[in-house]
Amino acid sequence: MKGFAIVASLLFLLIMTLFGFSVLLMASGHYSSSRGLFEKENARIACEAAAHWIVAQHNAGITTPPYLFDPGNWNGTALRSFQWNSHTISATFEAPWTSTGINRLTLTARKGTFLASQTLELRQIRLENFAFFSTQPQVLPYASLFDGTVFARSTIELQRPSVRFREFVYAGVQPEYYASFRKRTLQAPEFPNPEQLMPPAILEEKARETGIAVINRDSLFWENDHYRLDLDQLAIDTINGLWHLQYKAKDLGLHRSLILWFDADLRLRLTERPVSPLPSSKLRDPLYVVSLGNLQIDSNLSPLESASRIHPLCAIAGNAIHLLASIPRACHLDACLIAFGSGDAGGGLKIEAGGRDLTAPEREQFLFAIRNSAFLVEDEKKQTLLYALNAGEKTVWFRGGVILNASLQGSSDLSQLHFGSSEEVYSLLPSLSFVYIVEGSRQWQ
């Protein structure tokens, strides 16, 4: 009988073991399915948080050099991996870092067999990214549209409601209920003054060595008490990789850089051209026009076009920029404007009262610019701008950014003032050390 008891016990044990084992397998399969869901999500969150942490760590400036520029953090184009919430974070750039272009980064968060990977684009903040940059507080008595990053040291005081910001605002905006924001930022990097980034003496040196320095009241440009540069009279060509410039049919020689530097006040003028139906596919090389004193603008500004290139304009004043009374009543300036003069020296940007009627090409160009800008999707702003245009009210639209060391002063008759950032890359202007993630560039792998 003992034999039967043993066989029966063993059979019972076998059945129970098989049952237990099967239940265990089933439970582990079920658990791993649920766990997979949570861990995958955790990996995604870790990946996304790590990307923001890298940018925040870099921009916080805790370390010198900043995080992304520290060779100690890198092994070639790969970031040294680090731990983030139990995940191992590794990152690799597609190519060595460039300060003027896009840096594509692949970021991976891994925990055991669970991983999440995304690509994103990082760019260094550049002066031309700003629609408005001022190292002084700014008072704004207009219902403006800002289509680009905004920076003002301390505050921007709004005196009218309906001010619209489409990009990040690095400034205290008061009162906030007068503003509407498409994007908010909690982090405000301490941006340096423009002259710290790009000392004016360097521009002079650059012009003397590789561009054109106009000095001692050169009769070709001098007029009464200032220089005058009629951009319609400037012809640009390339010969053997050098820039060949002519002004009023007079040969200005061959130069390595497209920079014209003037040692006194300069008046700038350009005649509006008919709207080109198609965007040009020509290469783009910016033209830098620098005045040691004040820069006076008495027309609309837009990129120049030569036989093989488009030349976006960057106009730089050692002191202040003046928009003269002779500008069109609805004026748009598709150029990057920089004024180094500080408040004490009377710098900044001043808009004079008055203005002339628009010519037909100017009106057509203005309407074309509205249709191909952010105004198209900001209907309220578009309607008020069109009303001002039709009513002949004074309107100024900066389309390439305004960088100031002092404040902007509008005229008493100014009805509309709008700002946009440049889409060009002015390679002569230095990049700021801060970086940002390009909006819409994140893609999961």
Partner: protein, 231 residues
């Protein structure tokens, strides 16, 4: 006493047979029971797996649109399979951009776009920009003809919606995906418009969309799954 009697042998043989039959029967019942248990847990595993796949497809799918001021103003989620013309609780569709934005300009029947990338016939494009009156418009279109000659690439388009004709703006390659719950089955509507069963035997299905957040929930017997994706 040595050996055993016939009676003892018969009893022992019966006992042995009984143990074997009982053992087999218990194993069989155990198999049925485990199969039943597995049947209870498998839908949840399947639900989790489908949920992961769907989330991969949906999460951040509209990101590329944010690269452009015009395209970011285009609706990228529709409460039906026909660009939002009728509200449905059992179907939705969404846009998945596949390229970076480029400019376009209209000239008669032709649309000028940059030389690169090359748009082949049959490609679906999402376009946004200004109409002749200067108003914001958007539309989807299929490339009918392409003419890569000249300084730009010219394409002829067939528009999906009868919106006013676009004059200038930005476009990108995109595809439209959709999901439809019908006869207890969730179907995936592919960019070509064909239906494929995606997840079967769903007793309930619902979704809500707000801002760029899509919340989907479904129920299979006692198992309810609910998840959120940012498009």
């Amino acid at each position: 006493m040595k050996g055993f009697s016939l009676l003892e042998f018969v009893i022992a043989a019966h006992l042995c047979l009984l143990i074997l039959i009982a053992g087999y029967s218990v194993l069989d019942r155990e198999k049925d029971f485990l199969a039943k248990m597995s049947g209870w847990t498998r839908p949840e595993q399947e639900s989790n797996y489908r949920l992961l796949l769907l989330r991969n497809l949906l999460q951040d799918s509209s990101q590329q649109l944010k690269r452009n001021a015009f395209l970011q103003s285009v609706p990228f989620f529709f409460n039906d399979l026909d660009f939002g013309k009728e509200q449905r609780n059992d179907a939705f569709s969404f846009v998945r951009p596949l390229s970076s934005p480029v400019w376009f300009r209209r000239e008669g029947f032709w649309y000028h776009v940059p030389k690169s990338p090359l748009w082949k016939g049959g490609t679906t494009l999402l376009m946004a920009g200004s109409d002749a009156a200067g108003r914001f418009q958007w539309n989807f279109a299929r490339v009918l003809l392409d003419d890569p000659g000249g300084s730009t690439q010219r394409v002829k388009l067939k528009f999906f919606l009868s919106h006013p004709e676009l004059d200038s703006g930005s476009l990108l390659q995109a595809e439209l995906h959709g999901f439809l719950w019908k006869n207890k089955t969730l179907y995936w509507v592919s960019p070509s418009g064909s239906l494929s069963p995606y997840f079967g035997s769903l007793d309930e299905f619902s979704y809500t969309f707000s801002g760029s957040q899509l919340m989907i929930s479904w129920r299979i017997a006692e198992i309810t799954a609910e998840f959120r994706s940012t498009l």
